[in-house]
């Protein structure tokens, strides 16, 4: 498989692998994909009182580009507000990693993972940060 150096770098040195404690303050989780399809991504964000994402962690079952896509988005969401993180598009991920056409679904899954984590955060924290998330 002809992968870009960026994919290989993220695959070999994945950033922010791991999990937060389930009950830690400000932690929200997004899990997307299915084992039968060949990829499952779990993305967790830790949001501060100011609505800024302080930290992010991931675990991914999937091909090299699925791992790279999720590793990349943990780097990207850190320091962003919930609203800003929600703006990340799969096309940006695909472009950054130079994903081959057959692997575009990995970047779509990574975008879905961010959206799922944000939705989980909003469900847990009600309308407190509604404005920021709009």
């Amino acid at each position: 498989m002809a992968y870009s150096n960026k994919v290989i770098d993220h695959y070999e040195n994945p950033r922010n692998v791991g999990s937060f404690g389930k009950d830690e303050d400000g932690v929200a989780t997004g899990m997307v994909g299915a084992p039968a399809c060949g990829d499952v991504m779990k993305l967790q964000i830790k949001v501060g009182a100011d609505g800024i994402i302080q930290d992010a962690k991931f675990k991914t079952y999937g091909c090299g580009s699925a791992i790279a896509s999720s590793s990349l988005v943990t780097e990207w969401v850190k320091g962003k507000s919930i609203a800003e993180a929600g703006q990340i598009k799969n096309t940006q991920i695909a472009e950054e990693l130079a994903l081959p056409p057959v692997k575009i679904h990995c970047s779509i899954l990574a975008e879905d993972a961010i959206k799922a984590a944000i939705a989980d955060y909003q469900a847990k924290h009600g309308g407190a940060l509604k404005e920021a998330a709009e």
Binding site: M1, Y11, P14, V17, S19, M31, V32, G33, A34, P35, A36, C37, G38, D39, V40, M41, K42, K59, T60, Y61, G62, C63, G64, A66, I67, V102, H105, I108, L109, D112, A116
Partner: protein, 405 residues
């Protein structure tokens, strides 16, 4: 072979290197002894013909048949095409039903599909969970108009050995032509065509340390099997397969099969020891599954699924090893192996399988390196896998509602 840039080759069922002794023997037939074996009027031709006939003798000796029963082809795929299309078309007035197996190589499955398009009817048998044919299912599939049965001797993915002798007895008794794809069998299991009631058998040179682009088809003379030729021309190979013989390739196949005959007993014991060492080294890891029966199996094959790790990332993770994956993730289709699916493995386990095939030039150090690497990289990938985390937390993955995508 442990050079950092070249991965360790553990894919001997994909192909083997030409044994240096074989290459040595081939070279003069490219340069000095270049004659056409069909030339009858000078010594160039006679020399080439003698080399071809000596090689035919060597191929016949490995499988214990008469050299007159060996027809040269370009490889096992061509042999299978000639055997199946040739027999089906010659005997089509006797019936139109063909039996084969779902775990056969594509060379057989696709040829049978083509025969179906020509009007033949086919049954594709399921296999048991261990990869072996269920003989009661085979017997049940037989019809009065069955004319042809095709079963592989050794499966290319999981290495299991099918009950060829038993199937042969049934076919002979019922007057059904029996073809066996033996591409993965030569040099791995003893093949005795005096004892086996097989009518047609396909061989490949490059799976047994010979050159690529070379194969042979055994066509039994007693009882005599007839075929309709698929390649027409100068009437070479008694009309079965026209085309100028590739003397150097034939010499290579002959020498490769000669070496296999002399060395296979000792070689297979050494390889079995290495395979068992590899298995011992990784079998204590959690959630690993051997695919296919371990006793009715060639000694050099180990096919294992590593649960909760995806196939392509697994291959990337152990890139210092040249192995095959049961998952075609590198293609656009993302299809798990049809062989493992036929064994009843679920998609996840089929996706996470690796085929290790050991060979003549594999060393003990290669295996030790492989064990260490596999353990380390599988752990790394599992530490990264949400499925592994859920499994460790005691979550039943089948109870999870997965978001479709």
């Amino acid at each position: 072979m442990s050079d950092a840039k070249q991965p360790i080759y553990l894919d001997y069922s994909a192909t083997t290197p030409v044994d240096p002794r074989v290459a040595q023997k081939m070279i003069p037939y490219l340069t000095e002894q270049f004659g056409n074996p069909a030339s009858r009027s000078h010594s160039y031709g006679w020399t080439a013909e003698e080399a071809v006939e000596n090689a035919r003798e060597e191929v016949a000796k490995l499988v214990n048949c008469d050299s007159k029963e060996i027809v040269w082809t370009s490889g096992a795929t061509e042999s299978i095409n000639l055997a199946l299309k040739g027999a089906a078309n010659f005997y089509k007035t006797k019936g139109k039903h063909i039996i084969t197996v779902k775990t056969e190589h594509k060379a057989t499955l696709d040829t049978v599909r083509e025969l179906e398009r020509q009007g033949f009817e086919a049954t594709y048998l399921d296999v048991k969970d261990d990869g072996l044919i269920d003989m009661s299912a085979f017997n049940a599939a037989l019809r009065p108009d069955t004319i042809l049965v095709s079963v592989m001797f050794v499966n290319n993915e999981i290495g299991v050995i099918q009950p060829i002798a038993e199937i042969g007895e049934i076919c002979r008794e019922k007057g059904i032509i029996f073809h066996v794809d033996a591409a993965q069998a030569t040099g791995k299991v003893p093949v005795d065509l005096q004892a086996l009631k097989v009518d047609l058998m396909s061989f490949s040179a490059h799976k047994t340390y010979g050159p690529k682009g070379m194969g042979a088809l055994f066509v039994r003379r007693k009882p005599r099997i007839r075929l309709e030729a698929q390649m027409h021309g100068g009437g070479h190979e008694r009309g079965f397969r026209s085309g100028t013989l590739a003397t150097h390739q034939i010499v290579g196949m002959g020498e490769a099969f000669r070496i296999a005959r002399l060395e296979m007993a000792a070689e297979n014991e050494r390889i079995r020891m290495l395979r068992d060492k590899l298995l011992d080294g990784i079998k204590d890891m959690e959630e690993v599954y051997v695919n296919g029966d371990l006793t009715h199996r060639v000694p050099h094959n180990l096919n294992i699924s590593f649960n909760f790790v995806e196939g392509e990332s697994l291959i990337m993770g152990i890139k210092e090893l040249a192995v095959s994956s049961g998952s075609a993730c590198t293609s656009a289709s993302l299809e798990p192996s049809y062989v493992l699916r036929a064994l009843g493995r679920n998609d996840e386990l089929a996706h996470s399988s690796i085929r290790f095939t050991i060979g003549r030039f594999t060393t003990e150090q290669d295996i030790e390196f492989a064990i260490k690497l596999i353990k380390e990289r599988i752990q790394k990938l599992r530490d990264m896998s949400p499925l592994w985390e859920m499994y460790k937390d005691g979550v039943d993955l089948n109870s999870v509602q997965w978001a479709a995508h």
